[in-house]
C-alpha cells in the first residue's frame, strides 16, 4: 500500500515537474511548480517527517510560490512576449541538456541500487525530536544559517532603501 502510494506520488511529481518545463505560459509553470511542491509534501508525510512536510507546505507552497506568482503577475509575461530564440541558442541548450542527462545517467549507474533505508527511530521527523537534534547536534550550522538569513534581510533592506544623501 505504502510502496504503491509512493510510486504514484513519485510519478505525479515527475509529471508535474516536467509540466513546469513544458508549459508555455510562465504562470502555468508556476502553478505546476506549486503542485510539484505539494507532491513533495506528500513524500515527506510518507517518510513520517510531519514537521518537514508542513514547513515545506507553508514556506514553499504558501510563501515562496506566492511571491513567484506575484512577480509573474506583475510582469505579465505572455506566450507572445517571449522573444524569438535563434537556432544557435537552441543548439547550445540541446548540448547542455544532453550533458546533464549523461551526467545524471552516469551518476545513477555509478551509485548502484542501495538497500532500502530503514529508519533507526520511526519518529525522527516529529517536531520534538527534530528540535532536539537541531538545538544540540546541529546547533552551529543552525545558528550560522540564521545569521545568513539575517544578513540577506539586511541586504534586502539596504537595497530597497533610498539613498538618503542624494535626496
Amino acid at each position: 500500500m505504502s510502496i504503491s502510494l509512493f510510486y504514484l506520488v513519485a510519478l505525479l511529481s515527475i509529471f508535474f515537474a516536467l509540466m513546469v518545463i513544458f508549459s508555455k505560459n510562465p504562470v502555468h509553470s508556476v502553478l505546476y511548480l506549486i503542485v510539484t511542491f505539494f507532491t513533495f509534501t506528500i513524500h515527506y508525510i510518507l517518510l513520517n517527517a510531519q514537521f518537514l512536510a508542513i514547513v515545506n507546505f507553508i514556506v514553499y507552497m504558501g510563501a515562496i510560490m506566492v511571491l513567484f506568482l506575484f512577480v509573474l503577475m506583475l510582469l505579465n509575461l505572455n506566450e507572445s512576449s517571449t522573444e524569438y530564440r535563434s537556432n544557435i541558442m537552441k543548439m547550445v541548450g540541446l548540448i547542455a541538456g544532453m550533458c546533464l542527462v549523461i551526467t545524471l545517467v552516469g551518476s545513477v549507474k555509478a551509485l548502484n541500487a542501495s538497500d532500502p533505508l530503514v529508519l533507526q527511530t520511526q519518529d525522527l521527523g516529529l517536531v520534538k525530536n527534530l528540535g532536539k537534534v537541531l538545538f544540540s547536534k546541529f546547533l552551529l550550522p543552525f545558528e550560522i544559517s540564521s545569521i545568513l538569513l539575517l544578513s540577506a534581510m539586511v541586504g534586502a533592506v539596504l537595497l530597497a532603501k533610498k539613498d538618503i544623501k542624494q535626496v
Binding site: I34, I54, I58, G62, A63, V66, L67
Partner: protein
C-alpha cells in the same frame, strides 16, 4: 476496525462540513441583519419569518444566474480559482478539536477529524494557501481591476502571515505543543490562554482580520477603487463560491481563535456538568460552548466590519510591517523572559 474507523471519520467530516456550510450560509444573513441593527434598520425580513430563508433565496438566485466566463480569460484557471478558494477554506476545519471524546456504545469517539501533531502549522499552511484561489481567479479574469485585487490579496496575506506566525510562536512557548488537541486540553476550566497571551491574541486577531479579507483590511475587494476587486468578472455560482469561502474562512478562523486563546470547548464548571450529563452529553455541551464562542467571534467580525472604515494600502502595510511584527517579536521576548523567571523560581 478499519472500516468502523473510516465510517466514524466520514460521519464526523460530513457533520462538520454541514455545520460549517450552514453557519457560513447563515453568516450572510447575520451579516446583513447585524449591519441593519447597527444602522438602526431591521435587515432582510421578507423571506420567511424574520428573513429566515434569505440564505436559501440568495443561494437559489446565485444558482440561476448566468455564468459568464470572459472570452479572453483562461477558462480552466477561471474555474479553478473559486474552487480552490472554497477548498482551502473548508479543509482548515480538519484539525480543530470540536469537543472531548464522546462515549458512544462503549467506544470513545474523538470529536476531531485528525489529531496531527503539527496541527497549528497545518492551519497556518492552509491559511497561506487560501490566497491562491484569489490570485488565480484574479489573474485568470484578464481584467486589470481583478489583477490589482489579486496582487493586493497576495501581498497582504504574505505580510500578515509573518506577525501571525510570530504570535503563534509565543503561544507555543507557553503550551509546549503544536497539537490543537493538547492545547485545548491544557485550557481546562477557565485556564485559558488569553490570560497568558493577551498581546499575542490581539496580534493574532488583527492578522486574522487581514487573512480573511474582512474590513478594515478588505483591500483586495475594495469597491471604491477596484470595482469588485478580484471577483469583478465573476458571476453566478463562482461568485457565490468566493463569497462563501470568505464566510467559511471567518468561521474557521473564529474556531481557531476560540480554540487557541479562549479555551475551545472548555468552560468554567465543566467538570460538574460532565459528571451530571455523563460521557455522551457532557462533551456535546462542550461542543455547544465552542460553537457559542465561535458565534461571538463571528459577531465580533461583523461588528468591526460595520464600525471601522477601510485602511489605506500604505497604512495596511505600515501596520503589518512596522507595528505588528515588532510587537510580535517583543511578545516572544517577553514570553521567553517570563517563562525563564517562572522556571527559576
Amino acid at each position: 476496525m478499519e472500516l468502523a474507523f473510516i465510517i466514524e471519520k466520514f460521519i464526523l467530516i460530513t457533520v462538520i462540513f454541514l455545520i460549517t456550510l450552514t453557519i457560513a450560509a447563515y453568516s450572510t444573513l447575520a451579516e446583513r441583519k447585524i449591519a441593519g441593527f447597527l444602522q438602526d434598520r431591521v435587515g432582510p425580513n421578507r423571506a420567511g419569518p424574520g428573513g429566515m430563508f434569505q440564505p436559501l433565496a440568495d443561494g437559489l438566485k446565485m444558482f440561476f444566474k448566468e455564468e459568464i466566463i470572459p472570452a479572453e480569460s483562461s477558462t480552466t484557471l477561471f474555474i479553478l480559482g473559486p474552487s480552490l478558494a472554497l477548498l482551502t477554506a473548508l479543509i482548515g476545519s480538519a484539525v480543530i478539536p470540536w469537543g472531548e471524546s464522546v462515549q458512544i456504545a462503549g467506544t470513545l469517539v474523538s470529536l476531531q477529524v485528525t489529531d496531527i501533531n503539527v496541527g497549528i502549522l497545518y492551519i497556518f499552511g492552509v491559511v497561506s494557501l487560501g490566497v491562491y484561489g484569489i490570485m488565480i481567479g484574479g489573474w485568470a479574469s484578464n481584467n486589470k481591476f481583478s489583477l490589482m485585487g489579486a496582487i493586493r490579496a497576495a501581498s497582504q496575506s504574505i505580510s500578515y502571515e509573518i506577525p501571525m506566525g510570530l504570535s503563534i510562536i509565543a503561544l507555543l512557548m507557553t503550551t509546549n505543543t503544536l497539537s490543537m488537541k493538547e492545547i485545548a486540553e491544557q485550557q481546562h476550566g477557565i485556564n485559558w490562554n488569553i490570560f497568558y497571551q493577551p498581546l499575542g491574541f490581539l496580534i493574532f486577531l488583527v492578522c486574522s482580520f487581514a487573512e480573511t479579507n474582512r474590513t478594515p483590511f478588505d483591500l483586495p475587494e475594495c469597491e471604491t477603487e477596484l470595482v469588485g476587486g478580484y471577483h469583478t468578472e465573476y458571476s453566478g455560482f463562482k461568485m457565490g463560491a468566493f463569497m462563501f469561502s470568505e464566510y467559511i474562512n471567518m468561521f474557521v478562523s473564529s474556531a481557531v481563535m476560540s480554540t487557541l486563546y479562549f479555551g475551545g470547548y472548555n468552560y468554567p464548571g465543566m467538570d460538574w456538568v460532565n459528571s451530571m450529563a455523563g460521557p455522551l452529553f457532557g462533551p456535546l455541551v462542550g461542543m455547544a460552548v465552542l460553537i457559542l464562542k465561535i458565534f461571538a467571534f463571528i459577531f465580533f467580525f461583523m461588528w468591526v466590519r460595520w464600525t471601522v472604515p477601510r485602511f489605506r494600502y500604505d497604512q495596511l502595510m505600515n501596520l503589518g510591517w512596522k507595528v505588528l511584527i515588532p510587537l510580535a517579536i517583543a511578545n516572544i521576548v517577553i514570553t521567553g523572559i517570563v517563562i525563564t523567571i517562572i522556571d527559576k523560581l
